[in-house]
Amino acid sequence: MSREKLHQLGIDLPLLPTTSVGSFPRTEELRKAKSRALKGEVDPDQVREKEREATAFWIHKQEEIGLDVLVDGEQYRGDMVSYFADSLRGMERGGLVRSYGNRYYHKPVITSEVRWESPVTVDWWTYAQSLTTRPVKGMLTGPYTMMDWSFDEYYPDRRTAALAFAREIRKEVEALVRAGAKIIQLDEPALSARPGELPLAVEALHAVTEAVPAYFIVHICYGAFDFIYPGLLKIPADNFDLEMTNSGFSLVRLFRRNPFTKDLSVGLIESHSHVVESEDVLLERLHVALNSMPTPQLWCDPDCGLKTRTPEEAIGKLQALVKVVTHARQGLAPN
């Protein structure tokens, strides 16, 4: 069904399309430039040029590896929430808060009505897409996660805040579509945090996507899927990009009771491990996925963004993924 939608949008993909979730590690040159910029030794234009070079590096690297649907690698972003918060009126940069282990992020603060004033990601998407003939995903943080991962000092309740974000994020979605994006991913890692709020997340994502001519992927990771499945399927997404390896493919048993009705980008690679998975390990994981749902619905990618890995690890993991999927395709015929 969604494959048909992709076809209507002018995108034809092979069986088991391969992609990546979004972020890649910064290149060494960019890392050095950012470090020097902090000391005032490099001006912002020079950093931006390095970000463009790093984006080009990752686009070409993904093509070379053989991925089917590309991402821009998010070389220009700090983290997924503060990057957008910095560009929206009504939000202030917050202090550092720990997310896990030794990882921290600037948790933004909502201080007044949230307003989208101009495109945030469109220039980057346009640049990335200009470098390749393969489809590049538009990448946005979803309204529920923007609300949940911000301190709210303005709105009376969580619903009002989430719907305000939805209204404004839709404007970015429309801008991406006007620029030519056909596949748009909404990252919603917070979505499983409060199962009782799933209807709110559904409502907010409807407000973002309704009647927009694009193939929507919703990425969710590191959550308690047991509590939001099968309700999750009410979300207006064509494809769910789910972390599966980290959670030991526990979702598969849920699919046996309630079949997964959308496309599924199945996380076959552990994003927070330094180990590059062997082909045998990846093949075993892929077989679990293939046995759990119809092949035409399956996409293959890592569990989550790869920005915490070294460039060598990220490249090694993606190469292994593509090799295993390419091999698997030879034994499969479209259903």
Binding site: G94, G95, L96, V97, R98, S99, Y100, G101, N102, Y104, K107, V109, D148, W149, F151, D152, E153, A190, S192, A193, R194, Y222, G223, A224, T245, N246, S247, G248, E270, H272
Partner: protein
């Protein structure tokens, strides 16, 4: 009633100024093999000192070491113990903080105490009593995995996990800890019979010696738990009022026979309550508390807010204490 301010548990390990980020930098270098274990330990020591100095500046009566050495509340106690393997990341309740979920491979979960040394170090830095925090057996069981028949129920897993918890409590009590907090946020999320839980907690209670045992329940509604929790053999109940809209009315209706640590200041938001508001909310229940002492605490650990907000939360609790003491004078 004597009113005291108590820090709940965690305190932000880093702050936004560069000088408050040395632990973050050194930890990062340690992960890459560029710094030694001793370097990391020294950075943690400094972060503990900074956390205690902030609490002393705010004037808290009972402090913690900020739990700055903890990767997370689950792995800190279980990491390195026999039969335990750390697994993938999973969200901790409805926060945007993630833990590494351990897998249990055997019923005997043994290993040396690591909290005793942490407590001794922190206590030497201040005259303020340091309250060590130990994650409770039910919360540990709720966030670990195992394959039956190793354990058939979460209660059975909790019973096994109570042993390392009790061992930590014993070591802390022997080291002279006056207060020991058992963190059990899962009590607000897992239906467990009060008598069964009392039994699970038995070895922990038996290990406390002269220390006062504080049971902390947060990240969930505590209202319906008030009665059952009152029957447990613990010395202080620490409850999250921010998730429990009916808790004030419940206490006013039924009273409470145990000393209460009232989590009235929201540890999850940068919105600042007014000290007067906190004092008034405490006064609504003060007449129903049958205890000589009452505690003002944040609703949960403060590492969910930036460091400057954490400082202000403690400051406002100290001001609320002044309001209450003024009203009593």
């Amino acid at each position: 009633m004597q009113i005291q301010v108590m820090n709940h548990s965690s305190y932000p390990r880093v702050g936004d100024p560069t000088k408050l980020q040395s632990l973050r930098r050194i930890h990062d270098q340690w992960e890459k093999g560029e710094k030694s274990d001793e370097d990391l330990r020294a950075a943690e020591d400094l972060a503990v000192l900074e956390a205690i100095l902030d609490q002393d500046r705010a004037g808290v009566d009972i402090a913690t070491d900020g739990l700055v050495r903890w990767d997370d509340p689950i792995s800190h106690l279980l990491k390195g113990r026999s039969g335990v393997t750390l697994g993938g990341l999973v969200r901790y309740f409805d926060s945007n903080f993630y833990i590494r979920r351990p897998a249990l491979g055997g019923k005997e979960i043994n290993g040396a105490s690591r909290m005793r040394e942490e407590f001794v170090y922190a206590s030497a830095l201040t005259h303020t009593p340091i309250k060590p925090v130990v994650t409770g057996p039910l919360t540990l069981a709720h966030h670990t995995t195992w394959k039956p028949p190793l354990f058939e129920t979460i209660e059975a897993a909790a019973e096994a996990l109570a042993k390392p918890v009790a061992a930590e409590v014993r070591a802390l009590a022997e080291a002279g800890s006056e207060f020991i907090q058992i963190d059990e946020p899962s009590l607000a999320h897992v239906d467990v019979d009060a008598k069964v839980y009392k039994n699970i907690l038995k070895p922990v209670v038996g290990a406390k010696s002269k220390a006062k045992l504080i049971l902390a329940v947060y990240f969930g509604d505590c209202t319906r738990l008030l009665g059952p929790l009152s029957t447990l053999d613990i010395d202080v109940l620490c409850l999250d009022f921010t998730y429990s809209p009916g808790l004030t009315d419940e206490i006013r209706a039924t009273g409470l026979r145990k000393p209460l640590a009232a989590g009235l200041a929201d540890g999850r938001t940068t919105k600042m309550e007014s000290p007067r508001q906190i004092a008034e909310r405490f006064n609504q229940i003060a007449g129903k508390l049958r205890a000589d002492v009452g505690y003002l605490v944040p609703s949960c650990g403060l590492e969910h807010v930036p460091r400057d907000a954490a400082q202000r939360k403690l400051d406002l609790l100290a001001k609320a204490r002044a309001h209450l003491r003024g009203a009593a004078a």
